[in-house]
């Protein structure tokens, strides 16, 4: 009887080995089948970039039927609502677009809905090829949670060199310089800094905070080591309030594109926006980089790259994990990144991407990406969870109405405590 037991065990292990071999063969032999549902909010201008990725995947794995599930609506408010109802209903897509960092970690990783991708990073050698600062923003102590498909820069100051020459002003290197030239611009009827709706104010705020606090204390703020009520952070709000005095009164009914239009059209001198504004100006408005529009790091943030990134992860319990892993490998590969990013108007997160495929602005951004200190953006979900971001939008709107720095600092501290940023 004993021998037959051993035999059985041997037979069973044989079957298991065979099964594993088959499974491995399927993954490596590129004979994937079934479907792959990719959930995103990339439509309109950003649609072609996603299409390029889907086409590339189709060439590599012809057996897989890619379902491109997009829910439109800028910055993904609607898509995120749909995703949440699907996830709560136990119907996760195979992979979904999500802002890398706390927007992913604070919602999905803490809820144990994502698989750890550390093994994939090791296998693909990504821990060498993505900058270390970026990996820190994507990870928790328990693992790495998503693969960044692109990198955008948030702290960019835009202007039109020809207009500045006409008005006789220089590009400000610090906010002090800006506040000095702003009254001169206002006196000749030019709005010194154009601004759009609520989130663009938060976008401006993070650049101001990065300057006033410096990168280390800015990081401390998100790690819960620096109180929102501290004099340093109150100083950020005060400085922000001073700058707001030189922005347009109708900001809250303008989109970011309209705020950019004001700079291009000469109604405003400067605008601080993420570098998707470069793509908007060169592609949609047909303004040439360097000769037509100019850019610089937002005042006081030279040598610092405030980043945000779209990424994809592996949801727990998704229907086709093998297909998803193949998708993630492609998204992180040199080929995938260089197919997507020139069309999206962003740069590759990899430090070995082929710069000849990118335009003048993106080449300069990629150079900075490889040499700068990297910090994460608040307005785009890298450093704070969704609960904080949601309530911070209200704090921001109250500040825009009241301009009361102490009240805003107190409210932000209360929000940070509620959202678990301050332990």
């Amino acid at each position: 009887m004993k021998t037959s037991g051993w035999l059985r065990l041997a037979a069973i292990s044989g079957v298991f080995v065979l099964m594993f071999a088959c499974a491995a063969g399927v993954v490596q032999g590129k004979e994937l089948s079934g479907s792959l549902e990719i959930f995103s909010w990339w439509a309109g201008d950003e649609g072609p970039a996603l299409e390029a990725l889907v086409d590339l995947y189709g060439d590599m794995y012809p057996g897989v039927d890619v379902i491109n599930a997009t829910v439109t609506g800028g910055s993904g408010v609607n898509a995120k609502a749909v995703l949440k109802t699907r996830m709560l209903g136990g119907d996760p897509p195979d992979s979904f677009q999500v802002h890398a960092g706390q927007e992913l970690i604070g919602t999905w990783v803490v809820a144990q809905r994502m698989e750890d991708l550390t093994w994939l990073y090791e296998e693909e050698g990504w821990d060498e090829i993505f900058p270390e600062d970026l990996l820190g923003l994507l990870s928790t102590e328990a693992g790495i949670w998503s693969v960044p498909v692109n990198i955008h820069r948030s702290n960019v100051l835009y202007y039109m060199p020809a207009h500045l020459e006409e008005w006789g002003v220089e590009v400000p290197k610090t906010w002090d310089e800006f506040l000095k030239i702003a009254p001169e611009l206002a006196a000749i009827g030019v709005i010194p800094l154009s601004l759009g709706e609520n989130w663009t104010a938060t976008h401006l705020w993070e650049s101001v905070a990065l300057d006033v606090l410096g990168p280390d204390k800015y990081g401390d703020l998100w790690a819960g080591k620096l109180a929102w009520t501290s004099s340093e952070v109150v100083a950020v709000w005060n400085r922000f309030g001073d700058i707001l005095n030189y922005t347009n009164a109708d900001a809250s009914s303008l989109s970011w594109q309209q705020a950019t239009d004001m700079v291009v059209g000469g109604q405003a001198a400067f605008n601080i926006m993420g570098d998707w504004a470069s793509g908007y100006m060169s592609t949609t408005l047909k303004v040439e980089p360097i000769t037509g529009y100019g850019w610089a790091p937002s005042p006081g943030t030279e040598g610092i790259f405030m980043t945000l990134s779209d990424s994809f992860g592996l949801p727990v319990g998704c229907p086709n994990p093998d297909n998803t892993i193949a998708w993630l490998k492609m998204v992180g590969s040199l080929e995938g990144q260089d197919a997507f990013n020139p069309l999206k108007g962003s740069i590759s997160a990899r430090i070995d991407s082929d710069l000849s495929k990118y335009d003048a602005y993106l080449q300069s951004a990629a150079k900075d990406w490889r040499s700068s200190k990297i910090v994460g953006s608040l307005a785009h979900g890298v450093v704070a969870n969704e609960r904080f971001m949601n309530d911070f939008a209200t704090v921001m709107d109250i500040f825009l109405a009241s301009k009361d720095a102490n009240a805003a600092a107190n409210a932000a501290q209360a929000v940070a405590i509620q959202a678990g940023l301050v332990k």
């Binding site: 809820a111 009164a249 609960r387 971001m389 949601n390 409210a411 929000v415």
Partner: protein
């Protein structure tokens, strides 16, 4: 036996809709109420099996008194002014249009269609169009320049100016004042019509409330420890304009139908008695239109309470001056992951709609019986 078979047939036909309503309407209302008494929405809200603790009425208390829910309180204030302006102006515009169209000798069908047409648009489309028209640098503001006048400067949607500012901590006092005014109007009406029984029923309530209010009890009842300013945001005018444009055609159709049901004999009789056209309108037409006004108030009122898409399209989600509870509910639930807080805002909206609809249902039920 025939009647029993009828009864079975009726039950069989009704059963599916009763079951579906029971699950998808009343079941989910019940679930929302249950969730609103929990703390669902703490750190790991999206767990497959989230940890949900019962916390009683804390969410509701926080909505009215919590430091961080100032936005909800401004939402309620916005809602209050929006309902009054939207319902009032829609009724006025609708009545005016209906009266004018009634007088027309020709072209009635044409004008009726023109005015009713906006209603066929989705609120998102209306919102997008009006957003363009109310751009501070374009649309309506540049219209005067066509006549050589200076361009308008009014910030239709982006103004942060507030008028009629009040202190939320005294809201109980203001609520009592509003109730007093309402009761006074009702009592006056009863007195003029000589309905003594109803008057004697309401007068003691009025006097009692009046005495308590004058004594200052309500001003001592502070909802907050600190003053918190809320008021009518001027930016709401843009929203009101768009929504009235959309719905006044509908009220016009209601009033037009009402005017049609007034028998000509009544007007002719009034004419024989020597009434002028204005007098016929004032003493024959308007009183007979009262039931139309009542149902229009209920329909428009609940549209106003549930308004979301129009404001979302016109001003975006994070525009505090024009925000309403439905928008904050959406953001809290689906962006901030605070599902319990979202549920409690939803329940508050349900209560507000019920306050409007239940009295109407009761009165029409009574009329049906009579």
């Amino acid at each position: 036996m025939q009647s029993r078979r009828d009864w079975i047939a009726a039950a069989a036909i009704l059963l599916p809709s009763i079951v579906l309503l029971g699950i998808f309407v009343y079941g989910f209302i019940g679930h929302s109420i249950r969730m609103s008494t929990t703390d669902w929405g703490q750190e790991a809200a999206m767990l497959l099996k989230p940890q949900i603790n019962y916390i009683g009425m804390d969410n509701y208390r926080a909505l009215f008194q919590g430091f961080l829910n100032i936005r909800f309180r401004q939402d309620l204030t916005n809602m209050f002014f929006f309902i009054i302006l939207f319902v009032g102006l829609s009724l006025l515009a609708g009545l005016l249009l209906a009266t004018l169209i009634e007088q027309l000798v020709w072209g009635e069908v044409f004008f009726r269609t023109v005015f009713l047409y906006p209603m066929s648009l989705s609120l998102v489309v209306t919102g997008t169009i009006w957003r363009w028209m109310l751009q501070p640098r374009g649309g309506i503001n540049v219209l005067p320049t066509l006549l050589g006048l200076p361009a308008g400067q009014f910030l239709w949607l982006s103004s942060r100016a507030q008028i009629l500012v009040f202190d939320w901590s005294n809201i109980v006092h203001y609520g009592a004042l509003t109730l007093l005014v309402g009761l006074a109007v009702l009592c006056l009406g009863h007195w003029r019509r000589g309905e003594e029984r109803k008057l004697y029923l309401k007068l003691p309530i009025f006097t009692g409330l009046f005495a308590v209010t004058v004594s200052g009890c309500f001003t001592d009842l502070k909802l907050l420890d600190y003053p918190e300013q809320h008021g009518f945001n001027v930016a709401l005018w843009g929203i009101v304009a768009a929504s009235v444009w959309q719905m006044s055609g509908y009220t016009m159709a209601l009033y037009l139908a009402g005017l049609r049901t007034i028998p000509d004999e009544l007007r002719e009789a009034a004419k024989v008695d020597g009434a002028s056209r204005m007098q016929i309108y004032r003493y024959v037409d308007l009183p007979l239109l009262k039931p139309i006004t009542a149902s229009a108030v209920v329909i428009l009122g609940h549209i106003a309470l549930k308004i979301f898409d129009l404001i979302f399209a016109m001003a975006g989600p994070d525009h505090y001056p024009t925000s309403v509870p439905a928008i904050t509910m959406f953001l809290k639930t689906f962006r901030g992951n605070e599902l319990a807080v979202g549920s409690s805002i939803g329940v508050m909206l349900l209560i507000l709609v019920s306050l409007l609809i239940i009295p109407y249902l009761i009165s029409s039920f009574r009329q049906g019986k009579g």
